[in-house]
Subunit: 279 residues, 2 copies
């Protein structure tokens, strides 16, 4: 068990921000990353479809021998975490609770902003997670659907991104939040654009480092952490366009991701059956 890999999955390339934080926090853990590039983005989809896709991927990662699963996608963490947990034979964590905990620690005024995809904001997952820790925190949440495309297309730092950010974030500035949760794994790529609109007095919370810390602690607590002295090996799977994943992934991480393997959609459809019979 101890030397088996950790599985990390996302709707596409965005979860690489979590992958990177994990690789730094747990350098002796091998990681298997899955990006659902044949069906991304998840942020515009329904709970029903996000649950279906997430369970398929969790099934696939278990067939790859993963000892632990990280749902590195805010939309999937918001809408499918319970269902993935219910069908998985290994521990599963998402990105919402760690991000919520970091926001609660950071806020001084008790007024937190949350930005994310339509699916994440509609689910109110951050509001619930923050209120579970501290019920009297005020929360202002806004969906920023164009941010994913702007991040993927390399529009950080461009005037168009500044204009879009000003429009989306105006209600949060108006509301006077002192902390802003970047509730989508793509948004750290637009961190400087978002920071320049929000101003220096607002702290931005990127849940990736927090997630990595929780995973590391959780593995140690359960005595499931790697004891290998060998260099950890990472492998990447996608459901489409491995070359685009590698290209955009390099924009995310600043280094090359490899090897990237293609997984046939039929394999994913079959993967759910490995943990639970289909209806």
């Amino acid at each position: 068990m101890k030397n088996k890999p950790i599985g990390v999955f996302d709707s596409g390339v965005g979860g690489l921000t979590v992958f990177d934080a994990l690789a730094r926090a747990c350098p002796s853990e091998s990681l298997v990353y899955f990006g659902d590039t044949g069906r991304s983005p998840y942020g515009v989809r329904s709970k029903r479809v996000i649950v279906e896709y997430s369970r398929q991927i969790a099934g696939f990662l278990q067939t790859q021998g993963c000892k632990f699963l990280v749902v590195a996608c805010n939309s999937a963490s918001s809408l499918a975490l319970e269902e993935v947990r219910a069908s998985a034979a290994v521990d599963v964590i998402g990105v919402i609770e760690p991000g919520a905990a970091a926001a609660v620690r950071a806020t001084k005024s008790g007024h937190v902003g949350v930005i994310g995809t339509e699916a994440t904001i509609r689910s109110e997952s951050y509001t619930k997670a923050i209120h579970a820790i501290q019920p009297d925190i005020r929360i202002s949440a806004v969906a920023c659907p164009l941010f994913v495309a702007l991040a993927e297309e390399g529009f950080s730092g461009k005037p168009a991104t500044q204009l879009v950010a000003e429009e989306y974030l105006a209600p949060l500035i108006e509301a006077g939040v002192d902390t802003l949760v970047l509730g989508c794994t793509h948004y750290p790529l637009l961190k400087s654009d978002i920071a320049s609109v929000m101003g220096p007095s607002v702290e931005l919370i990127d849940s990736a480092t927090e997630v990595a810390r929780v995973v590391r602690d959780s593995l140690v607590t359960r005595n499931h952490h790697s004891e290998s002295k060998a260099v950890a090996e990472h492998v990447f799977y996608v459901s489409d366009t491995p070359e685009r994943f590698a290209r955009v992934g390099k924009r995310f991480l600043g280094y090359q991701v490899a090897p990237v393997h293609l997984v046939d959609m039929e394999v994913l459809h079959g993967a759910v059956e490995s943990t639970e019979p289909r209806r």
Copy 2:
């Protein structure tokens, strides 16, 4: 046969521009529209995946009794038309050839611009189709990946869209095209933004009306056109989020689309088997 419906499909909501043109050009034809909203957009995907999805949808539309199929998605028309034709038992047309024909008729200088998704531009489908008609036409083609998101999020007429359009279209202005093919069904929603950047001397080609004319002529030629005096009935199917489809669809058409039915992904996976056994 004559009173059976015409099937129209797209990766999502964009093909409604073609649906609308067809409904106007062929008022006695019933239409069955399918939007693959659980797996859109197609413009970033590979040929392999676009072929797989398109064949499933073509199979589904045939189970709905369609007498004729219109691939109202430029990415699918560019990359999957032959494969859909090969597996379909009815006639199939795409949007590339009608758009190419309209561009050839429109250009006076013999220099045509084409804009579309990454998948459409990479396929060079418009270049091939235009050169099949008139080999000496010069073509300048540019992918505009952010346009789909801007159109769907209602950003037409906003300054951010103007900035993005200026950046994408600069090489086409530089090249001096006199005709510009809007090679993605979403782009007519940004027509005024694109026109203001290109200037009044450039003619914009929206293939929807041209496609509708070709479909009508083709049905009449084969004596497959409807002879019903009753009002045509239209029905819409989607693979996810019917309420979002209805909301964004209204932005496209200016009127309500209904009824919108949800099709389970497993039904789509099974639909290919109805026309051809799976590997």
